[in-house]
């Protein structure tokens, strides 16, 4: 197990190195100069002032030196300062992460609570009416643009019924509220965003649970369990369910990038100040340091998500960790 872990960790080093290289090249080989973007609004800026700005951001150095500088600072978790407001990128990201993370954790929880039982049930009752209905739901879930669903629900609950707020994460008068009211206010603001981010996930994870369960049910040890006369619920819950759960853990690890990246659109729609919205506004402003910081952090979080998934898989399945 230890050697498996070490191997996995060592493999991550070249990956992280490559990720930084791709990020840096994507941003720097493209046309479009952040200094131009910053100064195009004011015609009075002289060429000399532009040069000074470039020097300030280190943009006058050759590319490979810029990359090297950036890499060294990155190793110290310093992503530089934002072109937009001069604050450090680390600060900007740090204040956004809790919001995005709490939405994602809440929706992940909802996904698991709803999707896994649906998947298991439709596998055990394959080809039943329930299975067919849930399959239809899955296909619709896969095919619905989440931002459209967000618009529809905003029209329904926000505009027509007027019972839920449609933007932000707190009301304007939140400072006048007591703690209980404040919590309620927060919950009311989060219902739509969390529900919508869970929606697409429910489709995917329930489909995945279904096929994972179907795979397990076909195994010989399930036949054995049935043959020795165990009742069906014991076969399903004690023998099959646990084994079917492992691949689901893996897929949760693999869905990290989708969760981080997928937030852009609905955070923008609902005006939620999370990572997605920060990324969107940074790309619009060509705020290179922030863009690179978020890309690299997102990619590294993904690698760790994969790693945790692999480790939990290896802990349960000895074949994985002993494989050469």
């Amino acid at each position: 197990m230890v050697s498996y872990l070490t191997k996995r960790l060592l493999l991550m080093i070249p990956l992280i190195f490559g990720i930084t290289l791709i990020t840096f090249s994507v941003i720097h080989l493209a046309p479009g100069d952040p200094v131009e973007v910053q100064t195009e609004m004011s015609l009075k800026v002289t060429a000399q002032a532009k040069e000074n700005l470039k020097k300030l951001y280190g943009l006058d150095k050759p590319l490979h030196l810029q990359y090297f500088d950036w890499l060294v600072r990155f190793a110290k978790l310093d992503f530089g300062t934002s072109f937009v407001d001069g604050r450090t990128v680390t600060d900007k990201i740090a204040e956004r992460i809790p919001i995005t993370l709490s939405i994602n954790i809440l929706s992940m929880f909802i996904i698991l609570v709803i999707a896994v039982p649906i998947g298991i049930l439709s596998a055990t009752k394959q080809y039943s009416l329930f299975d067919k209905l849930s399959t239809v739901f899955v296909f619709i879930g896969f095919s619905t643009p989440t931002f459209w669903l967000a618009l529809l629900l905003m029209i329904l609950f926000g505009v027509n019924m007027g019972i839920l707020p449609i933007s932000g994460i707190q009301s304007i008068d939140v400072s006048d509220m007591g703690p209980a009211e404040r919590l309620l206010d927060w919950v009311r603001h989060l219902i739509l965003p969390v529900g919508i981010s869970a929606f697409a996930g429910i489709a995917g994870i329930s489909r995945y649970s279904r096929s994972s369960m179907l795979e397990v049910i076909r195994q010989d040890y399930i036949k054995t369990a049935r043959a020795k006369g165990l009742n069906e619920s014991k076969v399903i819950f004690k023998h099959a369910f646990r084994n079917a759960l492992m691949p689901i853990v893996t897929i949760l690890g693999l869905s990290v990038p989708g969760l981080i990246g997928g937030g852009v659109i609905f955070e923008t729609i609902f005006a939620i100040p999370g990572m997605g919205q920060l990324f969107y506004s940074s790309t619009m402003a060509r705020d290179y340091p922030t863009i690179m910081g978020i890309l690299v952090i997102g990619a590294i979080l993904t690698l760790f998500g994969n790693l945790i998934a692999d480790i939990s898989y290896a802990m349960v399945d000895p074949r994985v960790r002993t494989k050469k």
């Binding site: 941003i27 493209a30 643009p145 459209w148 669903l149 618009l151 029209i155």
Partner: protein, 283 residues
């Protein structure tokens, strides 16, 4: 061609997939015939009919500049079709190239290429797409290229896996014994046998590309107004959300139906092309 008949027969057994295929064909016809069937010019402004609800004159209503929504949705289908097919074309070309080289040569080549695949998979794809498009110019060509270049990794993995098993088979040994060169062996002998998972992935890929394009256009990073795309019509829907529900409902419905149809076709193809499910087949 007996094989094709078997596949067709298996595919046609799934009623939902057949329905999906028919809708896809209808959508292709609609986008090709857009100039003929659209009742109005999709960009002609009518200031006397701004944001008018669905009526006999404008079946789906008009937008904030009085343009006919139905006509804009019909013309918008061209964007989805183009983006879907071109982006997926790029993705499967890169994927097949990387996957077949990695799978065929194995060893160090394989290790390096697959690490590169892992790296690409680690990026939150939508962030990467957004960054590149914002830096370059947001238009339909950038979108097609970027969706393609960030979407080839699954195909590469599938093709590699096929190659790994196929290259051990007898017909490959036989071809080698005949002195056939590697390039020809890969392209003419192994690749045709490795393509069925690619077809399935490509069909799902078209669905995914259409969804991504609509999201990007919705954010203002895709097809630019006044050209209509389903995503950028929805932006107008959001801006007028309190007064014009039709601007939000209908373009989204068009996306849903289109994407759903491609997904159903993909599902049907997967079952039809999976030889493991052929056992019970009677010719």
């Amino acid at each position: 061609m007996r094989l094709l008949r078997v596949i067709g027969k298996r595919f046609s057994r799934n009623k939902l997939s057949v329905a999906g295929a028919l809708i896809v064909l209808a959508l292709i016809a609609i986008s090709l015939l857009a100039p003929v069937i659209a009742p109005y010019d999709p960009t002609s402004i009518d200031v006397y009919n701004v944001l008018s609800p669905p009526s006999k004159a404008h079946l789906l209503g008009t937008d904030e500049l009085g343009r006919d929504l139905l006509s804009r949705i019909i013309w918008g289908s061209r964007v989805s079709l183009k983006v879907g097919f071109v982006a997926v074309g790029i993705a499967i070309t890169i994927g097949i190239l990387v996957g077949s080289i990695a799978g065929f040569y194995g060893g160090r080549v394989d290790a390096i290429l697959m690490r590169f695949v892992d790296m690409m998979l680690a990026f939150p794809t939508f962030f990467l797409i957004l960054a590149v498009i914002a830096i370059l110019e947001p238009n339909i060509f950038t979108i097609m290229a970027v969706i393609g270049v960030t979407g080839w990794m699954d195909v590469a993995r599938l093709v590699r896996a096929e190659f790994l098993t196929l290259k051990e088979r007898d017909f490959v040994d036989a071809a080698r014994a005949l002195g056939i060169q590697n390039k020809r062996l890969i392209i003419r002998h192994i690749l045709p046998n490795a393509l069925s998972p690619v077809f399935v992935a490509a069909t799902f890929g078209v669905a995914g590309a259409i969804l991504t394009e609509s999201g990007l256009s919705f954010l203002g990073l895709g097809v630019q107004p006044p050209d209509p795309s389903w995503g950028n019509i929805l932006t107008a829907g959001k801006d007028n959300i309190e007064i014009a529900w039709w601007l939000s409902v209908y373009p989204g419905l068009a996306i849903l139906i289109t994407v759903l149809s491609y997904n159903l076709v993909g599902e049907g193809l997967r079952d039809a092309l999976d030889p493991r499910l052929w056992g019970a087949e009677k010719e």
